[in-house]
Amino acid sequence: MSYENETSREIIASNIRRLMRKKGVVATDVCKALDIPNATFSDWINAKTYPRISKIEKLAEYFGVSRSDIIDIYIDREDPAYEAARVKPYIDQNDTELLEYLEYLRTRPEARILMSTMRGATKEEVEENVRFIEALRKSRRES
């Protein structure tokens, strides 16, 4: 099982879930409409397996989107933070607390990590992302 496949499954699972929410349907609705076994669909939306190309096309048709909307990373362009995200990362040198925390992350012996950080980011937000990455690393090590 390659990392690449794992990432692809997660992207597809996330896209199907998002499209289901948008269309206001549940898993049984999709299974019935596309004649897919419930267990198979459950594996897709839980990123255990991914659908074949023919099923991806059926899903795209059902949700009224293009195939790339199923398989590619989704960017929420309506999110107001999307525009803010286009600004080049920059660390405020006056935010000594954040700078010290980032320096600590880079040099701590147990798990070093460099975090590219956006202008205006707070230490609390960075801490939240660090916890997320650490949980991700732990779950992948265990699997």
Binding site: Y3, Y82, R86, L114, M118, N129, F132
Partner: protein, 118 residues
């Protein structure tokens, strides 16, 4: 080492994941086997993430985990800035800035390490 010399799947691995917020577009962390893992935050647009991937590869190529430069200068160097040149020949009207005297001392000490002079 140059960032271009690094090979995905051998020297580093890339994960596209949605971080909890927009504070960090990307991060890189060393693995116990000598490889690195790069995480790219899918809340950001793909073209922006391509730029961030280059940034993280520069961190790896320039050995930033072992570096003694202060973190803000490391980030600037990973963005492609030539820090040594700007230190000795700063753009007109600017001076290099450090967060503290300790940060400046670390920077100067590193510049004048014997191996760097030789």
């Amino acid at each position: 080492m140059k960032a271009d010399d690094l090979v995905e799947g051998i020297d580093y691995f890339v994960y596209y994941v949605q971080f909890p917020n927009y504070a960090n577009p990307s991060s890189v962390t060393p693995n116990s086997d000598g490889t690195y893992t790069i995480y790219l935050n899918t809340r950001f647009p793909p073209e922006f993430l391509a730029d961030r991937l280059e940034h993280e590869l520069r961190h790896i190529a320039r050995g930033h985990f072992e570096d003694t430069l202060p973190i803000d200068l490391i980030e600037r160097e990973a963005d492609g800035e030539n820090l040594y040149r700007s230190f000795f020949h700063p753009p007109s009207g600017t001076i290099p800035c450090f967060n503290s005297e300790e940060a400046l001392a670390r920077f100067v000490n590193r510049l004048f390490k014997p191996e760097r002079i030789l």
